[in-house]
Amino acid sequence: MSNTLLWYTTRGAGAVTLILLSAVVMLGVLSALRAQSPSWPRFLTTGLHRNLALLTLVFLALHIVTAVVDPFTHLGWLAAVVPFSSYYRTFWLGLGVIAFELLAAIVVTSLARGFIGHGAWRAIHWLAYASWPIGVIHGLGTGTDAWSAWFFVLTAACVAAVAVSVVYRFTTGPRDPLATARTAFRSAVERRKES
């Protein structure tokens, strides 16, 4: 395969991964907000969130494979799974590996959610959110055309969209209608220190 094709595929797949992952994060926020309308049921948010996450992994795999196979980068397969073990742009690539592994963890545990229980799954899922900022920084640091106009605009757009949705999520109150009452009751029936 021609080197140029591999090179373009790596960068292209990386960009698509960024877009898809940003969409996944925003859908996660919509899910927590229990957003719905007559034409957009809750299960559509959940379904898209899950399916786009899987699609993200597909493009991420393409991005990683083409990068490793490309002779120009001198990356071995090990570099794709062990963070900070490549000679090529060690730090920025390492970040990419971490983001990849966080995503892989959440996809694998989601498929096995029945076995590991909800509590453990939630913890890993929260950790997986970190894959987005790490992935963004990886993209800005590793790509040779990171500061070329199109990639910069694309990244800025994704960051803005996700930032707005995350800020909105944390400025609106808990959507669980029992959250406040439950906390209040629990503190009323907690064991008191013996006086």
Binding site: S31, R34, P41, R42, F43, T46, G47, R113, G114, G117, H118, D176, P177, L178
Partner: protein, 76 residues
Amino acid sequence: MKKELHISIDRIKCDGHGLCGEILPELIRLDDWGYPIIAPGPIPEQLMPLAQRAMADCPVLAIALRRTERHKPAAG
């Protein structure tokens, strides 16, 4: 031998997300506050795939499919 399964909800885990009511309205309807009311009896065979989807899609894993209908034990 057909396996009869019933929808069972863990009422403490349930947070009223309501996805189950969207996916399986034939057997699950939501009360005035968004919490599920389950039609009694076993799940009809043609609705099993939807029941399994409702179970998988519940954000808090509050739905289970059990062989017997849950009856709460004595409180004492």
